[in-house]
Symmetry: C2
Subunit: 344 residues, 2 copies
DNA sequence: TTGAAAGCGCTAACAA
DNA sequence: TTGTTAGCGCTTTCAA
């Protein structure tokens, strides 16, 4: 769009000097006389000169733009990540272009291509649920595009990634319940095709084993879709066991919410009869009744960290430094203890 | 960043023709012979030629990019809006650059400037809470930048805007309660400095008056910050009135959540003793216990509509058509009826 | 200390 | 039907 912005030429013409001199004066080149610098800078100020970044990009082959591919924007965790990315990028002078794949592989492919064609300097990417082959990503990587993966990563040795340590988070949550005196801790397991579900189950097992408690198969209930309804049903089953559980560690907040409903309807009290801890959505868990103890995922940090790593790669690359080694960052979760798991 | 992409020159050299011929052949110019076109297109395909959009932007003074300024990304309503914007922009071949002001005027100003300098073709903007003077916006508008405001608008006659009809939404919610047989409907009023709070109160009054019910000052309780705690406290007061309300219309979901807590703690049943309707966050309200009836804000539609209007403006402008008349779009809310307000 | 010229990749008016 | 040239705005090498 043509907004009739002032150019270097305009300044040069007005001052009766050449564009190259203006260019040099503006960037404080040592060759230029102080007097000329003063004149140029004053006029630039007066005319409100702003360099044309498009021209700069063309010349330098650098757009100062980062492309982001995310499965879904409308999701607390992902929007938190975007916020983290935005903050770091902003401070470093980068724009971010956002695309959402809507969990579709086709859309992810076209986003990837569009961002590549927009000549972004690097990309941050979390893959869609449909993504099972990675040719489209390999293709872009092979052209030298720096990509940092986060959360839903493409697990290839050559690239950097930022993930959350779900196993340790789950372990801490379970240990917290054990510290409260719980002996029969049930686990509502999340969608089994997701890596994170396995990690959370694993953390739960490790905690039990570390505390010398038995692992009881009948206390693990699958919630394949992670919905409230499933959580409720699964909990109803658990409550009908001969020896009821005295605590529940839920793999996700909706399931935890369902569990709460079932517990309430059975006439039991939280946390007196059954303590409960959820996983992942700070916003929701604070609003539950009673407020839900929860393993908080560090979305903001994840966005920040991914952006930092990417920008580091970009800047090294543009300085033609040796290829930086891929970095893998494992972020800690934070256990937020609220009423639902504190036995008095 | 230099990804050694194939250029028109490369194709020209390989084929022993001139770059301009290649350029023309690629865009199916009538002057070029079918044979040349075939050769060019085949080679372009083979070499995977992709036009350099930065060069195109420089030449055409058009970046095919829309800038978005939003107060906060991590907010269900706003992220829904972004999603709507993204979908429309994507279909029309535009990228979106997102910035968040974090409710800070200083940040809003610098975002505005950065986007302008990035030569975006137009902007979509929702102003920050701190924004009370509009010089920075006027400044950009005066340069001819198309801006469409949404939700938190800058109410100037010359520009297009998309807003939600909060008054009608509130009225419908209140009428719904009246239809359920409620006679003493309380209102939890939101932050009084926000335009929307006034609109919602107004809709509530209109509904009462239309139904021939009296407006009772003592049934309106202010929740100045819109928190759960305030909602709880306000409701406790309402429940201590000599004649209790039989329904509550809450100006926002956290307040509604607080009201539910207070009602439950007083040993009353929802909706048997008191029915309740909230405003605005679909995601939260579906998870409440019982699921909360709610006036849903059309965030996705808002994003779509704003993007559509902006793109229309941009395309008219680039065709040097006469300045399009500003459009004002008033979006309808949707009343989602759930258990909390249905009296059997 | 400054200027002329070339070039980043592309398109379009003009020439042939 | 195709090629030459100029130019979008900027930087930088080379020359003065």
């Amino acid at each position: 769009m043509n907004f009739n912005q002032v150019t270097i030429k305009d300044i040069a013409r007005e001052l009766g000097i050449s564009p190259s001199t203006v260019s040099r004066a503006l960037k404080d080149h040592p060759d230029i006389s102080p007097e000329t610098k003063r004149l140029v800078n004053e006029l630039a100020e007066k005319l409100n000169y702003q360099p044309n970044v498009v021209a700069l990009s063309l010349r330098s082959s650098k757009t100062n733009t980062i492309g982001v591919i995310i499965p879904e924007i409308v999701h607390f965790f992902f929007s938190t990540i975007i916020s983290g990315i935005e903050d770091v990028a902003y401070s470093a002078g980068y724009n971010i272009i956002i695309t959402q794949s809507n969990e579709s592989l086709a859309r992810e492919k076209s986003d990837l291509k569009a961002l590549f064609n927009s000549r972004v300097d690097g990309m941050l990417m979390s893959i869609s649920r449909e993504t099972v082959d990675f040719e489209h990503i390999e293709n872009i990587l092979s052209k030298g595009m720096p990509i940092v993966f986060f959360d839903r990563i493409y697990d290839t040795p050559g690239s950097s990634k930022v993930i959350v340590d779900d196993k340790v988070g789950a372990k801490e949550a379970t240990l917290h319940l054990i510290e409260q005196g719980c002996k029969r801790i049930a686990h509502l397991e999340g969608p089994p095709n997701l890596h994170i579900s396995k990690q959370r189950l694993e953390g739960y097992r490790e905690a039990l084993s570390e505390a010398g408690l038995p692992f009881d198969e009948s206390l693990v209930a699958l919630c394949p879709k992670g919905t409230t309804e499933e959580g409720k049903l699964a909990t109803e089953k658990l409550l009908s066991l001969k020896t009821k559980p005295d605590a529940i560690f839920a793999s996700n907040d909706p399931a935890a919410m369902g569990a709460m409903q079932a517990i309430r309807q059975a006439g039991l009290k939280i946390p007196k009869d059954i303590a409960i801890v959820g996983f992942s959505n700070w916003q929701l868990s604070s609003l539950m009744e009673p407020p839900l103890s929860s393993v908080d995922q560090p979305g903001y940090e994840m966005g920040q960290e991914a952006a930092r790593i990417l920008i580091r790669h970009i800047e090294l690359k543009s300085k033609k430094k040796p290829e930086p080694a891929p970095e893998v960052k494992l972020l800690k979760t934070r256990l937020i203890v609220r009423e639902s798991s504190v036995k008095k």
